[in-house]
Symmetry: none
Subunit: 207 residues, 4 copies
DNA sequence: AATGAATGAGTGTTCATTCAT
DNA sequence: GATGAATGAACACTCATTCAT
């Protein structure tokens, strides 16, 4: 496979299928629990053929993580400093929740990596991630300073949004076990979180 | 080891050491990523000797999980239906956060199991866990109904507490990567979460 | 296998058998051509059991090489600076030839490693080996300077002895192919080399 | 490639390039250590394209060996029965040494094959090779019988020339490790070997 | 109660060769 | 002629578990 050439249609297709299969298996079993054989089967390829497109098991995994981090941060990037603060933050909460709802495997893949101490993406966390969070935390701090949001620590506010939205994807079995089969966790979560953050961020009006 | 006899002091000691070693390794690497060899070494035992006390690798893991779940739910059990609602809930938040702070490995072990779909403790979730949560949710709902707490869905409120406290243990590397080396995540978290839940749960006073 | 403890009888036995099997296979097929399976079979062990005694294929190979180099240099070490020069050198030639005759697999193993550029024992060559050769070359140069041996370059004289003795082991198939089945290469070689070096080293007497 | 047709210029060129690449890789790593991929890359061809010109890896290897043997024996063929014995033999030594110096990869390729027991050229050794050596040995024996050379076994004399000249190519790393970086092994070897064989072959004059 | 020894079933990866275009 | 794609057969090494003492 000529590495420097433009990928052919087949290459793009196979790599996409391998990524999809890898996501399925890695998110369900973790890096160590996944086997190349299983991923290859899920991708409809023979094991050596899979390794023709991704040289190692780790290569599939890190490729997934790298793409994931980008998508994961997009909603935060979309936070508009010029927007109306409360609307911006609620929109962020919603976008993040929808991301977790629509891409739960990605969420779990990411959670698993962090849980193990981020052995393969540690650098990204203190690099891109940190820079972006710091920048947005500054914006939020500005909004709070001018009284348009109730004051709190912006970094921890962001952590809260992450924790509360991802919880529904990462701990899905627990949520379902507790709520039972009838209720709709995601719909309830959205209503609850919107109320939650509205109440949390609405500045108190002096009487 | 005569299974039906009372365990000797040595047996209790060995099993404790194996559990401690298993917790260390399983929480860091997951079930599949951990090797019996590594656990035996951490426990200061030979591999066959370890397997004399716990017949299989899985036995160590499930033993840890079973004990863990109990400890994990104790703070929720301690929620006093007769107590002052706001104080009770804030105390619960604090206890849960301290648990995560003081036993981060247990938190990660649990998170890993749930993340993978709880293959080995699925039953416990819809059993003991669900019953306890339902009971406490009922208590909280009562408090809200009488206007002593701002109204919201009690189940999701409990999820929020879980998500927000465990986040600091389970995603510790990410939290540290974002906050940098100088700040003290746990102290900040406590302050932030107390404010957070106070604001959230304080009923609006009609003017 | 406790690495720091004294080896048990079984360990010594198994390791000896593995070395013997490794020598047989590596000398015949080279490092890359040999398979762990084949060595294990030759040693009468299962593959994982072999790897219980030597962690990797390379470990067997380098263990063999290290022991080999020592044995290989012993005859040179035995060269006595106080002895009678001609007798000492002829004794060295004989000893080296007998070594090649009695341990042809060791000779081929060594030759194979050197032939490939000594990827795994390069350091030893410019270390121990070089020091010893330099020392002995000095002794021989002394003998030549006092007229007790015909003069020549001592380093190249040593190379000659190596080349001529090892040739009969390393190129054995060629020697046998040329000489046919009836002749006895080793006996002829000994006679020929003694004559050869006697003639070569006898100082010319001034008439 | 129509096998029965005369090869085109392109075909000749490609096969030459493959041979050159094969020589480079095979001589450095041996048959088993070499990969078709590496040879193809060295030849600037794709792997399937290389296999279009030589059907198998072995085909490249045996092609090289066959051509090599011919070239290897040319200096011996050039030994002129009508020439002056001492001059002829010294010329042979020189030619053989220059061959080793100028074509060390060929020498190592050959040495590797013999070392492994000549699995792919065993027949050639007891065929062409033996016939030629026997013939030349007869010539040398004649020279010795008439007193124009010091007597010795002609076959072993030929082995000596082979061993001493090829040693500098096949064991080059060892020679360089012992001599250090400053000395010029090939120049020294030539001087040494000429002296060596002159002394060896000069008949003793009865006084 | 303890451990050195042993192994069957994997597990990621390599590689010569073939297929299809 | 040329190459991207595919694969069967290996191959080195791992690991949970069992055996023997």
């Amino acid at each position: 496979m000529a590495k420097d050439e433009a990928p052919t249609r087949i290459q793009r297709d196979r790599r996409r299928r391998i990524r999809e299969a890898g996501l399925e298996v890695f998110s369900a079993k973790g890096f160590r629990g996944a086997t190349v054989d299983e991923i290859a089967q899920a991708a409809g390829l023979s094991k050596p053929n899979l390794l023709y497109y991704f040289a190692t098991k780790e290569a599939i995994y890190t490729d997934l993580l790298a793409r994931l981090l980008k998508a994961w941060l997009d909603p935060l990037r979309a936070l508009d400093p010029e927007g109306e603060p409360m609307a911006e933050l609620l929109a962020y909460v919603r976008r993040k929740l929808h991301l977790a709802r629509d891409f739960p495997r990605e969420s779990r893949l990411f959670a698993g990596e962090i849980l193990r101490g981020a052995p393969l993406m540690g650098a990204d966390l203190s690099g891109d991630l940190r820079r972006l969070v710091d920048a947005r935390a500054g914006v939020i701090a500005g909004w709070m300073a001018t009284g348009r949001l109730a004051p709190s620590d912006p970094h921890h506010l962001i952590f809260s949004i992450w924790a509360l939205t991802q919880h529904y994807a990462d701990f899905e079995v627990q949520v379902r076990a507790v709520l039972g089969d009838v209720r709709d966790p995601w719909a309830e979560a959205e209503r609850h979180l919107v109320t939650h953050f509205t109440r949390l961020l609405t500045p108190l009006v002096a009487i």
